[in-house]
Symmetry: C2
Subunit: 190 residues, 2 copies
């Protein structure tokens, strides 16, 4: 019920405008409209449903609630350790923004708002269910790690997806403040 | 953590395209695009922040997360009783859709999906904080009930606001199935 504040910092911003890979590459700043990141292939008011939305027929046009992908460095560290690899790059997960200092980042409630110091505001649409795509990229660097291990160890550690609530820019080094929603639990307690 | 299903029914659909009142009027069916109800003044990709979004400067252009207003007949009955009035009309609250049989409707978690039998899908964006507007309409019919009593008794009983995730129609008599999100609690338990 309480409105709790959390503060973190942006370590990197990344984007990818190519259709043939999910890998994002670091850049200086992102420009965000209400449809997403101008230089990223996930921009758009709509998207096509896929295996992440099993309640829709594949290919159905639906609202794009996966405009921006965010990860936390602490959770990437956890995944790296669990995979037993020497390093892990946010871009291999297709992340657009990596942050530090927000505990249990992937568990932030749906509806949490992320206020960036540049003025942009993102609305958390929930944890990002991991698929094998990042595992395939990881395997290119660490051939001993099967691609299907990533979804197993990254569950609830693979960050969140967000919509843009207020347009603007986001840059490396920005601070980010998280405002939790006041929605009570369902069903109500007691 | 579990994905629980709930089923209800649409009692009425309502809309209002006038700027000078919040009152909605019953109609046969609503047509919904990804920007909201075509015949309702709350349609649009964007809205201006007001007192409901105290974390934005008033007038800031933000994503319209309040496209559709839904209420439950059971909660309207609670409000009616609490106000001590003989009847209460969903349109006085500016509701677009009234439903039955979904317990604790206003507490449905943000991110819950409402699947209507016509194919339209709405995404719950949270409970609707009550203001005095409906209280003023109620007072026209029941002069003894001060307008400011409505926000007091209607807190967490005034329904939810939603975005359109899948476009389509919604009609009187449709069934509605609610799918709760799988997002775990934050912070994690234990």
């Amino acid at each position: 019920m309480t409105t709790k504040e959390l503060k973190g910092q942006v370590i990197a911003v990344l984007a990818n405008d190519r259709e043939d890979t999910l890998e994002t590459l670091p850049t200086d700043r992102l420009i965000l409209t209400l449809e997403g990141i101008t230089t990223d292939r996930h921009r758009g008011q709509t998207m096509r449903a896929n295996s992440r939305q099993p309640f829709y027929e594949r290919g159905t046009t639906i609202l794009n609630t996966r405009q921006v992908s965010l990860v936390s460095m602490e959770e990437l560290g956890f995944i790296q350790k669990a995979l037993g690899i020497d390093y892990l790059v946010a871009g291999w997960l297709g992340a657009n923004i990596s942050v530090v200092n927000i505990p249990h980042f992937s568990l932030l409630p749906i509806g949490a708002r992320l206020f960036f110091s540049s003025g942009t505001v993102l609305l958390n649409m929930g944890y990002n269910p991991p698929c094998t795509g990042p595992g395939e990229i990881i395997q290119r660097y660490f051939p001993d790690v099967p691609a299907n291990r990533f979804p197993k160890v990254a569950h609830l550690k693979r960050g969140i997806v967000a919509m843009v609530e207020r347009a603007g820019e986001i840059a490396r080094g920005d601070t980010v403040r998280v405002l939790l929603p006041t929605q009570p639990p369902y069903p109500p307690e007691g």
